[in-house]
């Protein structure tokens, strides 16, 4: 039994300038809105030279560029077009805004860092090139190897400045990968693929990873003890709890309630699948459905009062909503003969799911009150396994548009579909963590 756990990150954040309210707030939000042109300058080394300096300087900038482009709200100007000379500073008055307005930048990110041993201190600033003003200034300290997380944190600040809601880049994705081999294991990593951590290594089939709302544990199902059941793995301690189903049944998957106190799980016995409410240790609180058909893939509404799930009680798999206490089920989807894997938006208004279109699968959203579904992905390839970002503004999913299955992220509107992973294998079943500290 290998002991594995994720190392807890510790760093400090200080606001170094009071940010003025941005005049640009709201400008870039909305479907089809123009992308805001922004420049991200490589960071200056403010300390002694260090073997890591070059890597950190461009690494932090690259991580910010990745996140800004992934958001779909920014057009990051190509670094090779930057004309500012090397003597320019990183604080207001020590550089010329004209160097940036000339190349078309309206926003500018500058920063510096110093490294001492394995500690790093980073300061980052967002400037408004039009108004010649500083909008955000932050200083972060942490370990050198965590420098990408500092970049993600700052992009979340930038997005807060522009949209009024923080970004979701200081998060992780849990997913299933066969890494090009035959086993399916659970991994977690940042959206840019950094800090990849392998949760399972049991050479069987591991599926359906789901975060706890505190971001510290991952629930998943596994065949590692031969009969499929759920396991709750604590990322920072490496501790794991096995859920033991009663009567030789099996747990196929489960999801934490928003308050983290309970889990809705799919339980199979004698060929019948039904939904059960469990506590965090896997003890049954109550049975939620009692149907002879297939009842699978439950997920919670953000207020924890309702559960969306898949049932084939109509003769084909369709999306239903019921009370979290059980009962009161109503059918949500009426178009298409195969609608599965629903997830309720953290905003509460829409439900995303996978629907079959001809011989292909596409991602749809539908109002949580029903109505006409909206198709977000093309049926010239397959897209499956949608998962909301914690702010409800993005959807992660898996798609085979580049051959093998990879993870992608798009805006909730379906715009700006971008690939996240490129391992040699199939990456599927993304589940987005809550915002992390």
């Amino acid at each position: 039994m290998r002991s594995r756990s994720l190392v807890l990150l510790i760093y400090l954040l200080l606001t170094i300038t009071g940010a003025a309210q941005a005049a640009v707030t709201g400008e870039i939000v909305g479907q089809g809105g123009q992308r805001f042109p922004i420049a991200v300058s490589p960071l200056k080394n403010l300390g002694a030279n260090n073997a890591d300096s070059g890597r950190v300087s461009t690494g932090i900038a690259d991580a910010m560029v990745h996140d800004l482009e992934l958001s779909g709200w920014f057009r990051v100007l190509d670094r090779s077009a930057y004309i500012e000379n090397a003597e320019s500073g990183i604080t207001l008055g020590t550089f010329d805004f004209k160097d940036w307005s000339t190349i078309g930048a309206e926003g500018l990110v500058k920063g510096g860092f110093s490294i001492q041993g394995d500690e790093i201190s980073v300061e980052l600033r967002l400037f408004d090139v039009y108004q010649n003003k500083e909008r955000i200034g932050k200083r972060y300290t942490g370990r050198v190897r965590d420098f990408r997380r500092i970049a993600h944190k700052f992009v979340d600040e930038i997005i807060n400045q522009f949209t009024g809601v923080p970004g979701v880049f200081n998060t992780r994705i849990a997913y299933v990968s066969n890494s090009g081999g035959r086993f399916k294991e659970i991994f977690v990593s940042h959206l840019d693929g950094s800090e990849k951590f392998q949760v399972t290594d049991n050479h069987t089939i591991n599926l359906s990873p789901a975060w706890s709302p505190d971001g510290r544990s991952v629930l998943y199902s596994s065949f590692k003890d031969r009969s499929q059941t759920l396991y709750l793995f604590e990322l920072y301690s490496g501790k794991e709890i096995k859920f033991t189903p009663k009567g030789g049944g099996r747990y196929l998957g489960g999801k934490f309630s928003p308050d983290g106190q309970s889990i809705v799980a799919t339980f199979e016995t004698g060929g019948n699948t039904n939904l059960y409410l469990l506590d965090r240790s896997g003890n049954v609180i109550r049975q939620l459905t009692n149907d002879a058909g297939i009842e699978v893939s439950p997920a919670w509404s953000p207020d924890g009062k309702q559960i969306v799930f898949v049932s084939d009680r109509s003769g084909s798999p369709q999306i239903y909503v019921m009370d979290a206490a059980g009962g009161g089920a109503r059918r949500l989807t009426y178009s298409g003969s195969y609608n599965t894997s629903p997830e309720w938006s953290p905003k509460g208004d829409r439900i995303v799911y996978t629907g079959r279109v001809g011989n292909r699968f596409a991602i749809f959203t539908i109002s949580s009150d029903g109505g006409e579904p909206r198709k977000l992905t093309s049926e010239s390839f397959d897209s499956e396994d949608p998962a909301w970002s914690p702010d409800g503004r993005f959807i992660a999913f898996s798609s085979n548009r580049a051959g093998k299955y990879h993870l992608y992220v798009m805006q909730a509107s379906g715009d700006n579909q971008r690939r996240l992973t490129g391992s040699g294998g199939d990456d599927t079943k993304p589940n987005w963590s809550p915002r992390l500290d």
Partner: protein, 195 residues
């Protein structure tokens, strides 16, 4: 057809668990065969029948698909297996006339080998969602189990497991392949009770 497959099994290299390799003329109804009630997959009694000609004590149904996968082998039911795969349509778990015919043949063998315990695996093609396919595979395995049971095979001898779309026998992405993956597979359990 019945006799042919029975004699093939007994006369062949594979062998039969359970010393229960008797021609169907001597087979007793499920569970009542005098020779086999106390036979176990590993017991000495198993060696007393014709089956002891083989080096192995297994009827060659292959091992479980999970074990196959772990060993890097495709989860193929050997052509010589006395228990044949049952095939399904996309997103269906009802039994076609062909499926019923196959199950009747499987039931004949199970009747002739009353101490054989079998795990029925439900499999799906890759299309659709993993969790739904796990449920669909469970339905397929259960449909096969219930039909065998209706033919007089004790359900106590038949356990089920679903692998959903996770352990395909064919890995191409077309109907030719998908059809092979929508199946119930029958694997004799060795020295392990069904639970």
């Amino acid at each position: 057809m019945k006799t042919r497959s029975a004699s093939y099994i007994c006369g062949g290299f594979l062998l039969l668990v359970l010393g229960a390799c008797a021609p169907s003329t001597t087979a007793k109804p499920d569970g009542s065969g005098a020779r086999s009630t106390d036979a176990t997959a590993t017991g000495q009694d198993a060696r007393s029948g014709e089956g002891d000609r083989g080096a192995t004590q297994e009827a060659n149904t292959g091992s479980s698909s999970l074990k196959d996968m772990q060993e890097g082998k495709p989860p193929i039911t050997p052509a010589s297996s006395p228990l044949k795969d049952v095939m399904f349509d996309f997103d269906r778990y009802d039994l076609s006339p062909d499926a019923r015919t196959t199950l009747r043949t499987n039931a004949d063998w199970l009747r002739s080998n009353p101490s054989a315990r079998v795990e029925i695996e439900g499999h799906c093609d890759e299309r659709g969602t993993n969790e739904y396919n796990l449920a669909l595979g469970a339905k397929r395995a259960q449909a096969a189990r219930e039909f065998l049971s209706s033919l007089g095979i004790s359900p106590d001898r038949l356990s089920t497991i679903s692998y959903g779309e996770e352990i395909p026998v064919c890995r191409e992405h077309d109907e030719q392949c998908w059809r092979q993956n929508r199946r119930a597979r029958f694997v004799i359990l060795q020295g392990r009770s069904t639970s």
